[in-house]
């Protein structure tokens, strides 16, 4: 015969263990839900599709050494740096396309990044033809920006060699940036994040170019 006090203790322990099991089950569910929430990488907002807007590409032509504006409708990001990169990507896509008037392989992926920094005021003695020799960096209240264009090594390695073709590439990049973001008044170039002496053996890439004054060559009188 089981004593009465033992029966009471058994029942109490059974009820306690069932209650603890239920609480444990509840805690496990809560922990599982928290874990799933922390691993959820889905965007909280649906991606915004920007409507196409006009973008001016200053496209170069080797035949007559000219740079002419061409307007395209492009969906452009809102961030100024990403916007500049997207516009340059389209310009380099034009150059890489078959039948290009300024054939340069590489395409949109040739621009790794475009960084925008406050630009120093332009000195009165700034050189013409899109070139400045002074130190470019330094904050200013003018609102002018210096664009640092980081090109890929593959683009530079594949660029045709020649004074004219290299000059046109540099000037058309500068002019395109300025045409779409007039606050960009100066442009510097990096290749794979480092300064490089020349683009493809000729044109200087260590200088700061004045984006708004980029002027291509002109054809002389025909014979």
């Amino acid at each position: 015969m089981i004593p009465r006090y033992q029966v009471v203790i058994f029942v109490v322990l059974l009820v306690a263990s069932l209650a603890m099991s239920a609480e444990l089950w509840h805690l496990r569910d809560r922990a599982h839900k928290r874990l799933l929430e922390s691993e959820n990488t889905a965007p909280t907002q649906a991606p915004e599709v920007t409507p196409p807007e006009p973008a001016t590409l200053e496209a170069a032509s080797d035949a007559d050494s000219s740079i002419t504006p061409r307007v395209f409708e492009l969906p452009l990001p809102r961030s100024p740096g990403a916007r500049a990169r997207a516009v340059l990507g389209k310009l380099l896509d034009l150059y890489a396309a078959p039948g290009s008037r300024h054939p340069v392989p590489g395409g949109a992926g040739s621009v790794s990044q475009v960084f925008l920094l406050p630009a120093a005021p332009t000195a009165a003695s700034a050189p013409v033809g899109g070139l400045k020799t002074g130190s470019p960096e330094g904050a200013t209240d003018s609102g002018d920006e210096l664009a640092v264009v980081n090109l890929t090594g593959a683009f530079v390695a594949g660029h045709p060699s020649g004074i004219e073709t290299e000059t046109l590439t540099v000037l058309s990049i500068c002019a395109t940036l300025n045409a779409n973001q007039p606050r960009i008044t100066k442009v510097r170039f990096l290749v794979d994040g480092k300064p490089r002496a020349t683009l493809a053996g000729h044109v200087d890439l260590t200088r700061t170019y004045l984006a708004g004054e980029a002027a291509p060559a002109v054809a002389s009188g025909q014979p």
Binding site: A126, G129, G162, E164, T165, R207, V218
Partner: protein, 238 residues
Amino acid sequence: MRWAKWWLGRIARIAAAVLPAALGLFVMAQAPAPERFIVVLDAGHGGDDPAGRLEDKSGKVTDEKVCTLALSERLRSLLAARGMAVVTTRAGDIAVSPDRRAEIAGQAKAQACLSLHATMSGTGVHLYTSSLAPASAGSLSSPTPWKTAQASWVEQSLKLAGVLDSALVHAGIPVIVGRTALPDIDSMACPAVALEVAPLAAADHGQENSPTDPDYQARVAEALAAALVEWRAEARKQ
């Protein structure tokens, strides 16, 4: 008495013949000697820097450094034949840094410097001067930065480019004139022009000419020599 008169007459005749010549020699010795006209020919690239690759009609590929050296040698002969002193930055397949090229041009105190290049893009001859803003002539009180030494010579370089342009067009070669940032010429302290020979399109000459074509090079060199003769004449007028 007759002998004395005869001797006096002879002495007078000899004096009349010799004195003007002696006077002429004296005047020539006093006048300043005409300044020697010096041209620097800077054949681009060289050594381990072949630069562009140029293809001729037969498909043969030549490095740009070979083409520029050939043009430099051809032009050197023509200029020497016209009485000009010619200094070359390289006479063989050696690497010469842009600084060394500028140093050679500066030491030569040249009246003209041509930096020679070649390409397969575009057509005709491309003439480029430095895109540095013109600066006033350098003085001892304001030393010129090495990297922008050409700034003091930009106006002269533009005039030289104009003379070269006229001569090339006169020779039936299309010309593109522009300004660029080229380390080779930005440090040169003399009138300097970068000259890039591109193929001559069919419409311009009846057939396609590669920059490596000897006949095309000769034509370009003749036009350049004529231009430099004119440039020398202008320099002597000033």
